[in-house]
Symmetry: C2
Subunit: 174 residues, 2 copies
DNA sequence: CCCTTACTGAAACGACTGTTTCAGTATGCT
DNA sequence: AGCATACTGAAACAGTCGTTTCAGTAAGGG
């Protein structure tokens, strides 16, 4: 059911990937995706409801990518993750990701609540699965995947700001 | 001259540290700092002008901190930088920093234009000064400080989301 | 004393916001 | 046939936004 809802959510998601969340407002969005504010409110309850679903949608893209990565040790997984993070076709998603992350730091209320915290856990879990089960439960193992996560995300921030894939990539493998 | 201007900018800066940039609007801001929209517009030209100055003000705090750090090799400087980044009293500033960073990624127009790019350069330069002049100009040297920067910033993102200073700190020194 | 400079108050302007009200249509089940 | 369910359009609501207009005060130098 609610086929139209899914369809509009997908269209809105594409719109948000192009324009960001910060200045999102219902009338321009509705116009672009061939709908109306009235309908969006009917289907999603409120603007916050819509934004919540958009973030869930974005998280799904992220989790799908993470799920596709398996096998190999921590270094292999790190390389695979970086390949995904640095792919040009994912840039829009990752910028949206940074925006939502920032927003959830500033005010813990609202639709983005818990986004930053949740995404840390998602990624740490993926990295944990890449560790031998012996190392996984040690304090050193936790430290190592925390470090790996920091390295990946710091590199991502750099890449998104500068676009210098070569320099950033070289830093990662050093 | 324009003593009142400096005074109001400082007050507005404190306000923004508490409330973020995303929902900033003139009337509530003016009320809180004992001014009026009229005066803010007169002194700063426009809201964008005010935001520009606020970001410049934030960057000054950042650069002051960076300037106070000197001496020692790259590892010493990294430790000193992390001590500053992880200090609780800087958290508001760093959340504001992430917000401005994200915003400048989403739309390159507006007052935050170039913020992300500029801050990468600021930090890379500080790290470069911590490298022996021999290493500094090599490709490997660039890669190493790029990596260090990524590590610091990725750790910062983690810390701001989770507050788990111990785990994140352990990841950094591993 | 006058005139410039710095600053301020009150009110309005037009544009926009999320949301609501009231009205429908079209489809498909019973 | 009847009726519920899903969806939609147009218009209005009350509020906020950045900015402008018109008005003024207070201080300091010539």
């Amino acid at each position: 059911m609610t086929a139209r809802r899914d369809e509009l959510l997908e269209a809105a998601y594409q719109f948000v990937l192009d324009h960001g969340l910060a200045d999102l407002s219902l009338r321009p969005l509705a116009q672009e995706i061939g709908s109306s504010p009235r309908v969006l409110l009917y289907l999603f309850g409120s603007k916050d409801g819509l934004v919540r679903e958009l973030l869930t949608r974005a998280r799904r893209d992220e989790l799908d990518a993470l799920a596709r990565i398996d096998g190999g040790g921590l270094d292999d997984v790190t390389a695979a993750l970086w390949a995904w993070l640095s792919a040009p076709q994912h840039r829009r998603l990752l910028v949206l990701w940074v925006e939502a992350y920032a927003r959830s730091l500033v005010d813990p209320e609202g639709p983005w609540a818990g986004f930053a915290r949740g995404t840390v856990d998602d990624w740490l879990e993926v990295l944990a699965r890449a560790q031998p089960s012996g190392e996984r439960r040690t304090r050193a193992g936790l430290a190592r995947r925390t470090r790996t996560l920091a390295l990946l995300r710091g590199s991502l921030l750099d890449l998104l700001a500068t676009g210098e894939e070569q320099r950033v990539g070289a830093g990662l493998v050093t």
